[in-house]
């Protein structure tokens, strides 16, 4: 195993019960992602890409195989230890933003830092919100922000912990072309600035083309 690998997956399989029969979602997936890479996972709907992303993050458990983040065996850890690992090393961006409606933009960004008891949560969070162009809107609630702005808050929340690994699930899926393009520009800029390793699930081939590598998923297998 290469110690430059931020993320290693070996023999990942996922089977769920569907009525009487078993439904195979992922089978025998191997991948290695090195520091600084930007990898796109593409595939048709139902090809298993979102499930793969959830397993790589330790949000879901595989039926077979192992995942290592920075050398730590993810599923040898218990849930809470996995959560701690995520807190320090992994950032997330979702298609549907997943901002908490009762929290202001600033509070949403502060969440991961506060969970880790960071002493300067507020300063760091306002700085990065400023960086994504929302410095004037710290106290706004998500419902008062446009879709593009919400996704920028989500980006700030993902990058504020300076993660080694950023997992993005269809980050422009809910946005129109213009704001989508803006968000992607920002995502790649931040990725460069922070030296983050990026794994992005998308079905947008042109977006995937901007990544350094492309993995194509079909019927639960990597085909290219």
């Amino acid at each position: 195993m290469n110690n430059k690998n931020v993320l290693t997956a070996k023999g990942i399989g996922k089977v769920v019960k569907s009525g009487a029969s078993d439904l195979v979602i992922l089978r025998d997936i191997d991948l290695e992602i090195t520091r600084g890479e930007a990898v796109a996972v593409i595939g048709a709907s139902g090809s298993g890409k979102s499930t793969l992303l959830a397993i790589l993050a330790g949000l879901d458990t595989p039926s077979a195989g192992r995942v290592e983040i920075d050398g730590a065996d993810l599923f040898a850890l218990d849930e809470d230890a996995r959560a701690r690992l995520r807190a320090m090393q992994v950032g997330f961006v979702f298609q549907s933003f997943q901002l908490l409606p009762g929290y202001t933009a600033l509070e949403n960004v502060m969440l991961p830092l506060e969970l880790a008891d960071h002493p300067e949560a507020e300063r760091l969070s306002s700085e990065i919100l400023d960086r994504v162009g929302l410095g004037e809107r710290l106290d706004h609630y998500p419902k008062h922000l446009s879709g593009g702005e919400q996704q920028r808050v989500a980006l700030a929340r993902a990058f504020v912990v300076r993660p080694k690994l950023l997992l993005a699930d269809e980050p422009t899926g809910s946005l129109d072309a213009d704001s989508g393009a803006g968000v992607i520009r920002l995502l790649f800029d931040l990725n460069r600035e922070y030296g983050t390793t990026l794994v992005m699930v998308t079905h947008d081939e042109s977006l995937a083309g901007r990544c350094s590598r492309m993995l194509r998923l079909a019927a639960g297998r990597i085909v290219a």
Binding site: L100, L111, P112
Partner: protein, 816 residues
């Protein structure tokens, strides 16, 4: 579709709310219906005649003479309280002496439930079952009443009038009127009600009534079939209203639960509706679809509620069986309709407004999820439901003022609780307080209080309302009874001695001294009635308040003495000058009747009047169990009038035998065992409370349902929040800790508010109704907040289990 939504669990809260509301309202309506049917059925029995004349002093002979002269039937009766003896047992009895032809209408019944044509023959008495057992005097035994002995000839099971007397404390002893003088019980100072009964053709009866009405004296009254027994009807009506209002409280709470439940239902169906709109469903079709579903649910829930209400009224009737002498007929159908009506109002008023939002869902929501979310619970949308409910409350209260008080009081309480909760939540989440919290989970949980401020305030307020009811019914009720019991000092008199005649005074005093019963002051007692204030005649029509009317109509007790009794305290003016025509008045009666220092009262005693000026107001402790008088005069003023003597003293346990001797030597005396009277009154109050509690239970369930639906309403959001927290690295302990801290704070606030509410209402009741000092109760102040914390901790535990069971990936995908 109904089945599918039911299985999804979304309609269960709605159905439960409807069932509780309908059951609560119908239980009281069914019970009320049975009682009014009984009153209607027994209308003629209620009087025992076509016309009943009642007086607190003997009727003049010419009135009875006129009845017979006008060829109407005549029966007579006299009612008074006295002691009955059998062996070493004695008991207070509600004595009724009747002529043999009593009653003129309806029949007496004796065991085993046999109707009889005539009242007791001379030399015999009929006793109610309760009296038979307390005297241990079966049929055939001989009992003593005053100076005479009587044979117990029958067990009395039913008498007219009595059937409507719901709350009799002394059990009935019926005897022949002609035997009453032989007992020697009717003497100066005895409180006796004299009755004349008339029956005959309607024309003659109405002619006689017209001629007697203008000649009635103070303290005299005529009741006919129409007026019935107004005081009976009035007291039943009051009880029914109280129950009905409590029942409606449950309905109001259910309305809130329905509104909350429907809102959640709507939120969860927005996507489905958007899709249906996309697929071409018209707005009309959507409304029809969901309208039909809700109507079906409403009908089913109302039916269940009616059945449950019917069962509950059986319970109410059973608990009141001991007090209701009358047998109740089965209820009619009207209450069931009433229940359905209330259910319908609730459904239309509180479910329709949010439901109608579904039809307005734009199809574009399929693409853009943010569009077409339901608007905040616009108050205006529920205005109709609230207006109809307020109208229902006022209708049940029976008058606008009382109804207004109830509606206003309830709204004010809700508003106050809501505002206090909101303020408490804001205060607790203030930056400075948050900053001091070192524990991360605690800080997070408490910060969340503000983030869900509105939803949380609703939850806290509804929990506080429900808890207030529970605390009132448990701790406050107990504290009040205890305070009442304690308010009598341990050496307080426990016996009242009534009816001592002037010629017995020396002997009775000597007897009490010999038996070392302790210091027993015997006070003279004169019965009189106020006829004029400052020279102007007064009568009950001058007063609006019922208590004032009763006080002014009745004779009350006056006494004379040289010095102020030790347990009295002058609060205004100065003590009596024995050489002037002056009186001292109790401050409460003066306030009720509008008397002031310096006013001149004219008082009629046995046909003669005297006038005197009020020179002092006195404060009494009625709960001291000592002898108290409304009006005290200097001896020269009252001594010329006929008086009897009254005393209160304490008999230590084990010395009761002396009382039997006293009663045997002076059979005309009435000895009232205060403890026994209190116990008997307590038993009556207890069965009343039990009946009320059944109805309160519905209100409580309603409150819990509101609480549950308020908690469920924020559940989706909480679950998503927990999932996001876990994605960003929160441990299980952090998630549960934050939730626990949030719920703990809410529980503490709700518990504190409920405790404050119960304590405030308790103080109000103690001061205004019971005139007691209620010391703050440690138990209440511990139990209230603890109950709030315990309830919400349980909820936090259940809710965090739910939140943690599912993997965050799944939760987030569901909410996409």
């Amino acid at each position: 579709m109904l089945g599918r939504d039911w299985r999804a669990g979304e309609l269960r809260v709605l159905a439960a709310a409807l069932v509780i509301a309908v059951a609560s309202v119908t239980s009281v309506a069914f019970f009320g219906d049975r009682v009014s049917q009984a009153l209607l059925r027994d209308a003629h029995q209620l009087l025992g005649a076509d016309l009943a004349l009642q007086s607190d002093h003997p009727w003049k002979a010419q009135v009875a003479g006129q009845i017979t002269r006008e060829s109407l039937q005549l029966a007579q009766a006299a009612n008074f309280i006295s002691m009955a003896f059998h062996g070493d047992k004695n008991s207070l009895a509600g004595v009724k002496g009747v002529t043999e032809n009593y009653p003129l209408r309806g029949k007496l019944r004796i065991a085993p439930d046999v109707p009889v044509e005539r009242g007791p023959a001379r030399g015999t008495v009929w006793l109610e079952e309760r009296l038979i057992s307390s005297l241990n005097a079966p049929v055939g035994s001989r009992i003593r009443l005053g100076r005479a002995d009587f044979e117990v000839a029958a067990v009395l099971t039913l008498e007219p009038e009595r059937s409507a007397n719901f709350f009799n404390i002394a059990p009935r002893l019926m005897m022949n009127l002609a035997d009453v003088p032989a007992t020697g019980l009717i003497q100066t100072g005895s409180r006796v009600w004299y009755y004349l009964y008339a029956a005959g053709s309607p024309e003659k009866i109405s002619a006689f009534e017209k001629s007697i009405q203008p000649r009635l004296e103070r303290g005299q009254r005529v009741d006919n079939l129409e007026s019935g027994r107004p005081e009976v009807r009035a007291s039943i009506e009051r009880a029914r209203r109280f129950l009905a209002l409590t029942a409606l409280l449950a309905a109001v709470l259910a309305g809130v639960a329905i509104a909350l439940g429907t809102r959640r239902f709507v939120e969860r169906h927005l996507d489905g509706c958007a899709v249906m709109r996309c697929l071409g469903a018209t707005q009309r079709r959507l409304v029809a679809l969901y309208g039909f579903e809700f109507a079906l649910l409403g009908i089913a829930a109302c039916a269940v509620g009616v059945v449950l209400g019917y069962a509950a009224q059986l319970g109410i009737a059973a608990f009141l069986a001991g007090l209701l002498q009358a047998e109740l007929p089965p209820p009619g159908l009207l209450p069931a309709l009433q229940g359905f009506l209330v259910g319908l109002v609730l459904l239309l008023g509180f479910a329709l407004p949010p439901l109608l939002q579904l039809k307005n869902v734009p199809a574009v929501r399929v693409i853009r999820r943010e569009s077409g979310a339901p608007r905040g619970s616009a108050l205006a949308a529920y205005a109709l439901g609230m207006a109809v409910l307020a109208a229902l409350l006022i209708w049940q209260a029976g008058d606008l003022t009382l109804g207004g008080y109830v509606v206003g009081g309830f709204s004010a309480a809700v508003l106050l609780f809501f505002m206090l909760s909101w303020l408490a939540l804001k205060g607790l989440t203030h930056r400075r307080i948050l900053g001091r919290m070192k524990n991360r989970s605690l800080r997070y949980g408490v910060a969340n209080l503000k983030r869900h401020a509105r939803g949380n305030a609703v939850q806290v307020a509804s929990l506080a309302l429900g808890l207030t009811a529970v605390l009132l019914l448990t701790f406050t009720r107990h504290d009040l009874v205890e305070a009442w019991r304690r308010s009598a000092p341990p050496d307080a008199p426990n016996r009242f001695l009534l009816g001592v005649q002037p010629d017995q005074l020396a002997q009775v005093k000597q007897f009490l001294e010999e038996k070392r019963i302790g210091k027993a002051d015997l006070y003279p007692m004169v019965r009189g009635r106020v006829v004029a204030l400052n020279g102007k005649p007064v009568n009950e029509a001058d007063y609006a308040e019922e208590r004032a009317r009763r006080l002014i109509e009745r004779e009350f007790n006056l006494s004379y003495m040289d010095s102020l009794p030790g347990h009295n305290q002058i609060v205004a003016g100065r003590w009596l000058d024995p050489n002037r025509d002056e009186i001292s008045v109790e401050e409460g009666i003066a306030r009720t009747l509008g008397w002031k220092l310096g006013d001149e009262l004219s008082i009629n005693v046995g046909g003669e009047s005297f006038s005197a000026r009020i020179t002092s107001l006195r404060k009494l402790r009625w709960d001291s169990m000592k002898v108290n008088f409304f009006v005290i005069a200097p001896p020269p003023l009252l001594a010329p009038y006929p008086a009897s003597f009254i005393s209160a003293f304490r008999v230590e346990p084990g010395r009761e035998q002396a009382l039997n001797e006293l009663a045997a030597r002076f059979p005309n005396l009435t000895i009232v065992d205060v403890g026994a009277a209190v116990r008997q009154a307590q038993a009556v109050i207890d069965s009343l409370i039990t009946a009320v509690e059944i109805v309160f239970l519905f209100a409580l369930l309603g409150g819990l349902l509101v609480l549950y639906s308020a908690l469920v309403a924020t559940e989706d959001e909480r679950r998503r929040e927990a999932a996001v927290m876990r994605v960003y690295g929160a441990s299980r302990a952090q998630v549960t800790g934050a939730q626990r801290a949030e719920f703990l704070a809410m529980g503490a606030i709700a518990g504190l508010l409920a405790t404050l509410g119960a304590a405030a209402i308790g103080q109000l009741l103690a001061r205004r109704v019971f005139e007691l000092d209620l010391p703050p109760s440690l138990a209440l102040w511990l139990a209230g907040p603890l109950a709030g914390i315990a309830l919400l901790s349980l909820n936090a535990w259940l809710s965090s289990r739910k939140v943690l069971r599912v993997s965050p990936a799944l939760t987030l995908r569901d909410s996409v």
